[in-house]
Symmetry: C2
Amino acid sequence: MRIVLDAMGGDDAPEVTVEGGVWAAREYGIEVVMVGRQDVLEAELARHETSGLSLSVVHASQVLEMEDEPASAAKTKRDCSMAVGMDLVKRGEAEGFYSAGNSGGVMAVALFHLGRIKGTKRPALTAAYPTREGLCVVLDAGANTDCKPEWLLQFGIMGSTYAEKALGIENPRVGIVSNGEEEGKGSTLVKEAYKLLKASRLNFVGNVEGKDIPMGLADVVVTDGFTGNVIIKLSEGLSKFLLGIVRDEITRTPLTALGGVLIKPAFARARKVLDHSEVGGVPLLGVDGVVIVGHGRSDAKAIRNGIGVARLAVEGGMLQAIGERLTDLGL
Amino acid sequence: MRIVLDAMGGDDAPEVTVEGGVWAAREYGIEVVMVGRQDVLEAELARHETSGLSLSVVHASQVLEMEDEPASAAKTKRDCSMAVGMDLVKRGEAEGFYSAGNSGGVMAVALFHLGRIKGTKRPALTAAYPTREGLCVVLDAGANTDCKPEWLLQFGIMGSTYAEKALGIENPRVGIVSNGEEEGKGSTLVKEAYKLLKASRLNFVGNVEGKDIPMGLADVVVTDGFTGNVIIKLSEGLSKFLLGIVRDEITRTPLTALGGVLIKPAFARARKVLDHSEVGGVPLLGVDGVVIVGHGRSDAKAIRNGIGVARLAVEGGMLQAIGERLTDLGL
């Protein structure tokens, strides 16, 4: 299997991307195709022990930067590493693509170079959300601000297929974010989407309230990209805030400070639950290719794990399954 | 000053409501008018030392229960404690009203018995959200699921006036929840409301992302009732989840468990930051009367504090100021 790594994407690229790519090739026994400035990548690669590994470099003269406006950069930077990498997937020269770069950029370039899966109304960004039960998939996590009910149904189908085929969750429980548990609660959008989800073949568990998400009441949490973005960013900010208060309070007296030293490993494990680098990446669903997006602040382990996500999605036949299920429902 | 206490509202009414009411009368030197079943309330009152306090009981034969469907109960239970209490405010026999009962019920009864402030499109529920800077006011916290841009402008005006007049925050910073910081980010609703807020006399600080709310980047956070509900409930669930993980991890080894014992006071203080009973109550804004709503799980201290919020809102002249500002803007 060949997975493309956008070696120029991410805050600490290409150092950590190359390191993560080498690690992934070793760990998973797959070929990692690094795309970016050839001289830069070869210099980075020379710093690693790579004998026996399947690694290759494909040159791309441009980089879609974090600051770039996605839609216009996707048009003007035709030779950026994302575009060159996705073209490899398009031509069948690789099976999956991973980038920790500008996620709006990945979306724009993917729409341009890979297009949508037949039948898909809108692609969705997903997020891996830590819960008491493990992880749930939240989508749309920010790609589509204003949504239509049928799009939310499709997000449910795509998210459920990803959870099943790449994460190995059998018959994933699909819920829709609402402002009340009972059927009939919700905005006009949610009430309409509820009906479509209920009538589908999905394992639809109904409305989930905000508090139900961290409790793990659903494996796939469907919402519009506006609400999804608020959910993800609020959770990020609140986690930081809460762990910050506990930390501040602990340092207030010598006795609690001593306690703080003793619980350090517990704190570290708690943080690990919330650590995005454990996940590595999440799929852009609805585009016609396996495209996995990582966090801009990814370290080498996150890059390795993100490539691992691409590998699982390819192995599970996620793309084909999504196409079949969307067609199956006549959408 | 006379504040009405819905003595039948709340999970532990009338025990804790009466206790909290007595406490408020003593603490603030105001008259507390307890509304509910006269015999029940007098029996409760007899258990407290009340000499020298301004306390009175007004009989109401019915109770709007937690399980009641708000709109229909507001119509059928004309003699419930909420209705009788608000009628006292309506007739000028009391200046403010507090209830820890069914908050949808309080809203429905208030619309029925007090009506809206002239010019108000929709009343809003508020929430007091703990931040790094103290507290911010989030509204609408759940009353209006689908909103119009002008309603969000009004929420900003009402929330800002409450923050200034009752919470003593000078020139409150008003932000609108969006899925990006920059102007131009947001749903159609948010983009339209942004323009109105920017053109108003409010101290509008622009878009706030989910992560900015706990950081305290705004004193007043404007949003529709759907998103507001998700924000509040997600924060509740996530706080429980996070503190739960830390607690679980702490009990895993004897050393961390010892550390856990030592940091107990720090944990207690951290929890205090998040404790709704410290706030006691939040206003229902837009109805023609000072109406404060408390959490169903309120204890006596929360009831006391909630009555204190009503007192501050009355003292600050919040209601009149809202009326003037809404008119001023020609809405």
